[in-house]
């Protein structure tokens, strides 16, 4: 019985905490102020292929005549 009450208590606490995250938009605030700027820095500094070096020529035999 005690264990069931304990589990119930823990679940209730988790549920309440999640409700606080939801109600106070803590998920939005975290992403906006912390996660997004961090990721943007990463993408801005990422080494990328120079796609302009891709050769541009005609492909042959893309469609075979029947």
């Amino acid at each position: 019985m005690k264990i069931i009450l304990k589990i119930f208590g823990i679940l209730a606490a988790v549920y309440a905490a999640l409700f606080a995250v939801f109600y106070y938009d803590l998920d939005g605030k975290f992403i906006y102020y912390i996660f997004e700027p961090m990721m943007v820095r990463r993408y801005d500094n990422m080494k990328r292929e120079d796609t302009l070096k891709t050769p541009y020529d005609m492909k042959e035999d893309v469609m075979k005549e029947e």
């Binding site: 992403i31 990463r42 796609t51």
Partner: protein, 566 residues
């Protein structure tokens, strides 16, 4: 007691982030307990909500999310917020081929692609913006539509990540060999005859189109990248963004071939040319005629589709399967039939449980994407809700003052304007132009009928159907206005859309001649820098005040900042 500078800063920050200021004119004195209890249970009446006070500066974040009354707040928390976060995790695992593989591929994609990491984690705010102020059945029906789009988005990016050469050391996996990449404007229905063997995935739908709605910051990088290599800045920014992804090397390499289209207009031809260069692999261009209802072009259009099938057969060694085509075309017809039922309720009753933004986005998404199980699942939920509202005569948007039809190409960075317009002015956007495209059943009794209908279906694709398919189509506005019982038009004015700019004057004349209240809303499709959301709101509010002489339902929504928001 003296407060340190730091403590004061923290207190001010907390206040900024969490505390909603009381309005200046609110009476001080004893509290009305009965009213507090009523507001707690039912939520505040529309005119007292003051939704604009909930925002933090221009971020679009909330000091706290809206209290919609006990039942609706709990519904939002449990069945929208928790449910969707939970299901997103499950979808990542399910569509990624198992818990470990799914999470690993998702993490790799997140670290590699800007459109993934910057955009999609903000998804619950996309729900918030679209569902603000909604109560009861319309909250539920619209949220199901959002859930469908989220699920399909996850399916698509997980499929891409699982087979992406860039994420797997350049390896051409079996999955890679069985994928077909295509323009987002090539409809999924083209591939029904190969559906169970090959996987068709639109290349730009997730990296570009959906991002604009969820987090409008991301797309700006791609537009700027396109211009940075000397490409002109005046074509449609949709096309610029689509090829900007390639300039920045931010496209997943998930398929050995590519199928492109000139839909919606000539800007897309440039996209195909540039994609042909950067992808450097077999590419089939499947053009669709501009003046598509000319009988002379029908046969040509059907041949193009057959040529496309031949291309797939040759490249993959997989034959077109007629039975498979019929099976999926018939499934798709069920979606179209339900769409017609929805339109019927929207047009003739005030009991429609889908708001303007959910209607517009869901319809364009599933009809472009093609038949997938999730759409049927969502439609079953929505059908239940709609039956309930119709049977019990529940007016879903009770503060409606005007029934609005939104016409022409819409601002992607502000698709939720209609939610704002209802909350602020009682403008109920019943239907929009893009919802009405693809209005075509696919016959499966004979091969000839099937091909004929399929080519019609594709000719009636977004924008081609009305915006650039000939003036008689765009002028069908008057018929739809009547059919949907609308008394007002929000006329989108895409400043870089040459087709629509060409017919601007005709609309001006017609609106005047027909004595129709029309609000012109300028925008640049995905690019919020040309006309901001605030400017769009100001244009609508100015019209409502000066021409309609109406008072706002919620004055806090008339003028607020949201330039830095998602």
């Amino acid at each position: 007691m003296k407060i340190s500078k730091k403590a004061k800063m923290v207190r001010d920050k907390m206040k900024e982030l969490f505390v909603v200021e009381k309005p200046e004119n609110e009476e001080k004195g004893k509290r009305d307990i009965k009213k507090i209890a009523r507001d707690f249970w039912y939520g505040k009446p529309h005119e007292e909500r003051r939704l604009g006070d909930l925002y933090i500066g221009d971020t679009g974040l909330y000091k706290h999310r809206e209290w919609r009354g006990f039942v609706d707040t709990m519904y939002y928390f449990n069945m929208i917020w928790l449910y969707n976060y939970g299901h997103m995790v499950m979808d990542i695992m399910k569509f990624g081929g198992g818990p470990v593989k799914g999470v690993v591929n998702f993490s790799k994609g997140l670290m590699r692609y800007r459109w993934m990491g910057q955009t999609y984690l903000t998804v619950m705010h996309w729900f918030d913006r679209g569902l603000e102020g909604m109560r009861g059945p319309i909250l539920r029906g619209s949220a199901w539509h959002y859930r469908g789009m989220v699920c399909e988005t996850i399916r698509q990016f997980q499929e891409m990540f699982a087979s992406d050469k860039k994420l797997h050391g350049g390896r051409e996996s079996e999955q890679w060999k069985h994928n077909i990449a295509h323009n987002e404007t090539v409809s999924g229905s083209i591939f029904y005859g190969f559906h169970d063997v090959l996987e068709d995935i639109p290349l730009e739908m997730i990296p570009y189109f959906v991002t604009c709605h969820v987090n409008n910051h991301t797309v700006l990088n791609y537009i700027d990248a396109a211009q940075s290599i000397g490409l002109p800045s005046d074509p449609c920014p949709m096309c610029q963004a689509e090829y900007g992804i390639f300039v920045l090397d931010d496209y997943p390499d998930f398929a050995p071939t590519m199928i492109t289209s000139n839909e919606a207009c000539d800007g897309s031809v440039a996209t195909s040319v540039i994609q042909d260069w950067f992808l450097n692999r077999p590419l089939f261009a499947m053009p669709q005629p501009m003046r598509y209802d000319d009988p002379l072009v029908q046969e040509h259009c059907q041949r193009e589709i057959e040529e496309c099938w031949k291309f797939i057969e040759q490249q993959y060694g997989v034959p077109f399967n007629w039975e498979m085509y019929c099976k999926y075309a018939e499934e798709q017809n069920k979606l179209t039939a339900f769409e017609h039922e929805k339109w019927d309720v929207a047009a003739n009753t005030p009991y429609y449980p889908i708001n303007g933004v959910a209607q517009a986005l869901y319809r364009i998404y599933y009809s472009q994407d093609g038949n997938r199980p999730i759409w049927h699942e969502i439609d079953a939920h929505v059908r239940k809700i709609m039956n309930h509202t119709v049977k019990n005569k529940i007016v879903t948007l009770p503060k409606t003052r005007h029934r609005v039809i939104a016409w022409s190409c819409a601002p992607l960075y502000y698709s939720s304007w209609c939610t704002w317009a209802y909350n602020c002015w009682g403008l109920n956007c019943v239907i929009n132009m893009d919802s009405l495209m693809f209005d075509q059943f696919l016959r499966t009794d004979t091969y000839e009928h099937a091909l004929e209908d399929l080519s019609w279906y594709n000719e009636k694709a977004p924008m081609r159907a009305m915006a650039v398919g000939g003036h008689e189509h765009i002028l069908s506005l008057w018929d739809y206005m009547e059919r949907f019982n609308c008394d007002m038009v929000v006329m989108y004015d895409q400043l870089q859309c040459k087709g629509m700019q060409g017919i601007h004057g005709v609309f001006e004349d017609e609106f005047r001649k027909r004595n129709i209240h029309a609000i012109w809303v300028p925008h640049a499709l995905p690019d919020k820098r040309t006309v901001s959301r605030k400017e769009i709101r100001k244009i609508i509010s100015d019209y409502m005040i000066t021409v309609m002489r109406e008072e706002p339902l919620d004055p806090t929504l008339v003028d607020f900042e949201d330039d830095s928001s998602w």
